[in-house]
């Protein structure tokens, strides 16, 4: 099946080449980082996790969102999703790969990575995150590939894959729950220490992931002979709508608890994000942009006549994706460290090599996605022909 990835037009090859160049630049910067240490990043002893871990956190959500097409199709027989489950699964594969790469580039001693297996530590949430992320990658790669091969031969998928599919559904929930637990169980980091962190993560994941999937469906419909189907897009847009409402609602719950209780530790993070704290306001423009994007998204999504309009839906999906990206992939991780445990502020701004490595990892993920999607769409076109 992989041979389909080698047959493509000029646009396909230019896309791959472009992504390859970006990941090459990222890799070169990673070599620099290996040589110099993480001092080439903007992180510090006070803000000890930065852009890498934030991207990882956001992308776990994108990965988990595959369940939003898999669950309705396999548990509720929503036929419309049958055509696009493969797109969800391959999106998950590339997103989880990015997550794992972001963890690796964040390590001070990446060559000691296997110590996590050599000295397994069940009391560490990071150990469990390693388990669930690798498991999820394995599940989606195997399920996606097997079901697609069967589809190509116009046969029902082998029976052994069914249990794997059923396991993959709670597994998707687990990856984002465990990732939320990384943060939600730390004493002294008030911004993260909230019981609804996992729920917030899942809600935002089920909005951002499917909105990306809708955009990809539109792109595929325009560029290839495969039509993911209007009804699948309509159903996905409903999922995005409800998930986005839930996500914003959960955030408002946090804000209520912080500002009605008036407990300083709970308020400081939000104050830093939205008005600046002790003269530091690095995140303020980004967080307000996130608010504007999220509100726009809700206005465009909630009335059915807006969301069924293709142009408006595309804008809505972009605003959902970038609004939540700013909230989780930019704001959430850094704010946990500001103010720090001494109630002091050390601002964090990523450096150029740090951004180049970040772009490199994203490019690698999209490269994997482009190849996998090429295969999937090739198979779909072949069956139709």
């Amino acid at each position: 099946m992989l041979e389909k990835a080698f047959k493509g037009g000029q646009k396909y090859w230019s896309l791959l080449l472009g992504l390859l160049v970006l990941s090459g630049i990222g890799f070169a910067c990673f070599m620099l980082q290996l040589n110099q240490g993480l001092r080439i990043t903007g992180m510090s002893r006070d803000v000890s996790w930065g852009f890498y871990i934030a991207q990882f956190t956001f992308l776990v959500g994108v990965a988990a969102s595959a369940v939003m097409v898999v669950l309705p199709y396999y548990l509720h027989h929503v036929k419309e999703f049958g055509r696009i489950t493969i797109l969800g699964e391959f999106l998950a594969v590339s997103a989880v790969t990015m997550c794992l790469l972001f963890i690796v580039v964040d390590l001070g001693q990446p060559m000691r990575l296997l110590n996590v297996l050599l000295h397994p530590t069940p009391n560490s949430i990071l150990f469990w995150d390693m388990v669930v992320l690798n498991g999820y990658l394995f599940l989606n790669a195997v399920i996606g590939w097997t079901v697609l091969s069967a589809e190509r031969k116009e046969m029902p998928p082998p029976t052994w894959v069914k249990p794997l599919i059923y396991v993959s559904i709670p597994w998707a929930v687990s990856i984002h729950t465990v990732t939320a637990f990384l943060y939600a169980g730390l004493p002294g980091r008030h911004f993260w220490l909230t019981a609804i962190m996992a729920a917030r993560f899942l809600a935002s994941a089920f909005a951002s992931g499917p909105s990306l999937l809708i955009l990809l469906c539109f792109l595929i419909r325009k560029r290839t002979n495969f039509d993911p189907g209007q009804s699948a897009i309509d159903k996905l847009s409903k999922i995005v709508t409800y998930a986005m409402i839930t996500s914003v609602f959960f955030l408002l719950l946090e804000i209520f608890t912080a500002f009605y209780s008036k407990i300083p530790g709970h308020m400081h993070g939000f104050i830093y994000q939205f008005t600046g704290y002790e003269g530091h306001a690095e995140l303020v423009p980004f967080m307000w942009l996130s608010v504007i994007l999220s509100v726009t998204a809700l206005i465009l999504l909630i009335p059915p006549q807006f969301r069924s309009n293709e142009k408006l839906l595309k804008i809505a999906c972009l605003t959902v994706f970038f609004g939540l990206y700013l909230e989780k992939g930019v704001g959430l991780v850094v704010t946990g460290f500001i103010p720090n445990v001494f109630d002091k502020v050390t601002p964090y701004v990523p450096t150029v090599p740090e951004l180049a490595i970040t772009v490199g990892v994203w490019a690698t993920g999209f490269l994997i996605m482009a190849v996998l999607y090429k295969v999937a769409i090739g198979v779909k076109e072949e069956i139709r022909a």
């Binding site: 002893r45 006070d46 000890s48 001070g108 000691r112 110590n115 530590t121 560490s124 150990f127």
Partner: protein, 263 residues
């Protein structure tokens, strides 16, 4: 061709089996029992703790800007002096009252308390979050005496412990620390670190195991630092704690810090 492949798979399979069995054999072949004896002079305790008598400390700070304990600690443990505050390595350091105790500091406290720095170090918590989060057991609580230990050679540099520690007691080597050490000052009996690993105060386990007091305690000329077993009612630390009101940092988090402050 077919036969070659089968042959290859057979040999490959046996090799893999052999390799995976090797560690099992090694484990079985190992001798039981300790491979070294503890030093009979070693200090013994169930949970080491430290008292910092700030009154005595401040007198010395006023008199001669005393930093004896920090200098002794950092010299003996090859702690580099990195000028950039964002990349600093700190084992034992000074911090203002409102930053050391952000949850209880108030503006009407005595001037003396507000203006003079406190000595901070790892609290060697009874219930340490850093140990709970470490994915490789590179940081662990020593069972016999409760020291929160740090294995620089196992640490993968994920910095989860730094997120977990509510006391800012952990430092990461953002770059190679060795250029910041003077070669002639390096203590050859204690490891230097490489880039990409976390480090912190280890209550001088290496000295305790030889019957010595921690380096900072030994260096303090006015006995402002008192070290001992907090579970032993007859110990000096317990006598002092029962006679004076003491403070600990962020006790509401339940970590059980074992460094006490007298004001």
């Amino acid at each position: 061709m077919e036969k070659d492949r089968r042959e290859f798979l057979k040999i490959g399979g046996i090799s893999v089996l052999g390799l995976s069995a090797l560690p099992v054999f090694e484990a079985l072949a190992q001798e039981k029992g300790p491979r070294y004896k503890p030093d009979p002079k070693a200090l013994k305790g169930t949970q080491w703790a430290m008292i910092v008598d700030m009154k005595k400390c401040w007198e010395q700070q006023d008199k001669r800007q005393c930093k004896d304990c920090i200098l002794a600690c950092h010299k003996i443990h090859n702690v580099p002096e990195i000028p950039d505050p964002k990349r600093e390595i700190k084992w034992l350091w000074m911090e203002e009252y409102k930053h050391a105790f952000p949850d209880q500091a108030h503006e009407y406290a005595p001037e003396k308390v507000k203006e003079n720095p406190f000595m901070l170090l790892c609290n060697h918590c009874t219930n340490p979050p850093c140990v709970r989060v470490c994915p490789t057991k590179a940081t662990f609580k020593r069972t016999q005496d409760g020291i929160v230990m740090m294995d620089f050679h196992r640490c993968i540099g994920c910095r989860y412990c730094m997120a977990g520690c509510p006391y800012g007691a952990r430092s990461f080597n953002w770059g190679d620390p060795r250029p910041y050490l003077k070669p002639e000052d390096i203590n050859m009996t204690y490891p230097t670190r490489r880039k990409g690993v976390v480090e912190k105060c280890t209550f001088c386990y290496e000295r305790i195991d030889e019957g010595l007091q921690p380096a900072c305690v030994e260096a303090c000329k006015v006995k402002a630092l008192i070290f001992g077993d907090v579970t032993d009612p007859k110990s000096e630390v317990r006598k002092i704690l029962s006679g004076h009101y003491s403070l600990r940092r962020k006790i509401e988090l339940g970590t059980g810090p074992n460094v006490y402050y007298l004001i």
